[in-house]
Amino acid sequence: MASTTAHAQSSHAHPTLEAYVRIAILLAIITGIEVTIYYIPALQGVLVPLLIALSAFKFIMVVGYFMHLKFDDRILTFIFGSALVVSIIIFIALWTVMYFDAASVFNANMSLLPAKPERP
């Protein structure tokens, strides 16, 4: 009961307009960092994880603050989070299969088992 009350109160605690501006400035700076590191040869080794981490941070900030998901009912987080998880699973599954080149990995029956030798 107490947690429900706290949740109800937190639903109304939205950032101020000044806070939104600060968040937008932060997001713009991160975008600038993303573009800058793209051109730094020394960072090429860690470029992919770095870019994905920065992108994920921007994503979470926009969804959490601009879309108010941080302050809204948790069922909305569950709905959107579930869709996000399904999307990521589809992405990983498809990418994994195609990365290993389906035509070469699977046999004609689309099975990982090696094809049975033909009988004479």
Binding site: M1, T4, T5, H7, A8, S11, H12, H14, L17, Y20, V21, I23, A24, L27, A28, T31, E34, V35, Y38, Q44, L47, V48, L51, I52, L54, S55, K58, F59, V62, V63, F66, M67, H68, F71, D72, D73, I75, L76, I79, F80, S82, A83, L84, V86, S87, I88, I90, F91, L94, W95, M98, Y99, F100, D101, A103, S104, V105, L112, L113, P114
Partner: protein
């Protein structure tokens, strides 16, 4: 129990949906306003839609060079230009939230100004995308030219379509506001449009990174992919 229901009901009132108590729009059993819940359900489905498009793009992103049919992504993609587009769309999210915040405080004039700014920034982004598409077309990239063309235009084209519909929605709301139909009491109408607009922005955040910024591997051929795949598949089979 009744008290708990009341509190949950209050939780659903994020902001500016006081009109629901006047019979305008009801609440679902969750305590969340129906339109808001529907918009989040739509965004969830749209998230999976774009997830599939992005997955398809990522699967084929390094295969264009294998087929030997250009133009190739590294020859066309203009990072500085797209960075400006990304910045413009990001700032449109700020103006959108400022418009909503102003309306919730009863400042209708500022709300209109920020709403118009959002529509202008969205249109600017669309203009940039049209320019980019035209440039790519003149370089020989079409939907049919190669895998890169097909997946790139499908993904970014659908995103552009979403932005276009968003701009139309914003302009409609601006028109309604100018006619006095958008007030503090029905700020939820603007909030729902805002949710859609921010979603368009987060999709671009992902596209900008995965399509434009991640380097294109021009050296690994599909033959090497296949060899590595076969090797791992054989190792897996030995385990069983």
């Amino acid at each position: 129990m009744a008290q708990a229901v009341d509190i949950t009901h209050a939780a659903g009132h994020g902001h500016g949906d006081d009109h629901t108590e006047h019979g305008g729009h009801g609440h679902a059993g969750t305590g969340i306003e129906n339109r808001k819940l529907m918009m989040w359900l739509f965004l969830a489905s749209d998230c999976m839609f774009f997830g599939s498009l992005i997955a398809t793009y990522m699967i084929y992103r390094n295969r264009t060079s294998d087929l030997g049919v250009g133009p190739y992504p590294h020859e066309l993609i203009d990072i500085p230009f797209t960075s400006v587009s990304a910045f413009v769309l990001l700032m449109s999210s700020l103006t959108m939230v400022l418009s909503l915040g102003s309306l919730q405080k009863g400042n209708i004039r500022n709300s209109r100004i920020w709403l118009a700014a959002t529509a202008i920034l969205g249109s600017t982004f669309l203009g940039g995308q049209f320019f980019e598409f035209t440039e790519f077309y003149h370089e020989g990239l079409t939907l049919q030219s190669n895998i890169f063309g097909s997946t790139f235009f499908t993904l970014t084209g659908f995103h552009g379509l979403h932005v276009g519909l968003g701009v139309l929605w914003l302009l409609t709301l601006l028109f309604v506001s100018l006619r006095g139909g958008l007030k503090k009491e029905n700020a939820m109408t603007l909030e729902i449009a805002g949710l859609y607009w921010h979603f368009v922005d987060i999709v671009w955040i992902v596209i900008f990174t995965l399509v434009y910024l991640l380097p294109y591997n021009e050296e690994v051929s599909s033959g090497e992919h296949a060899a590595r795949g076969q090797e791992i598949a054989q190792q897996l089979l030995r385990l069983f």
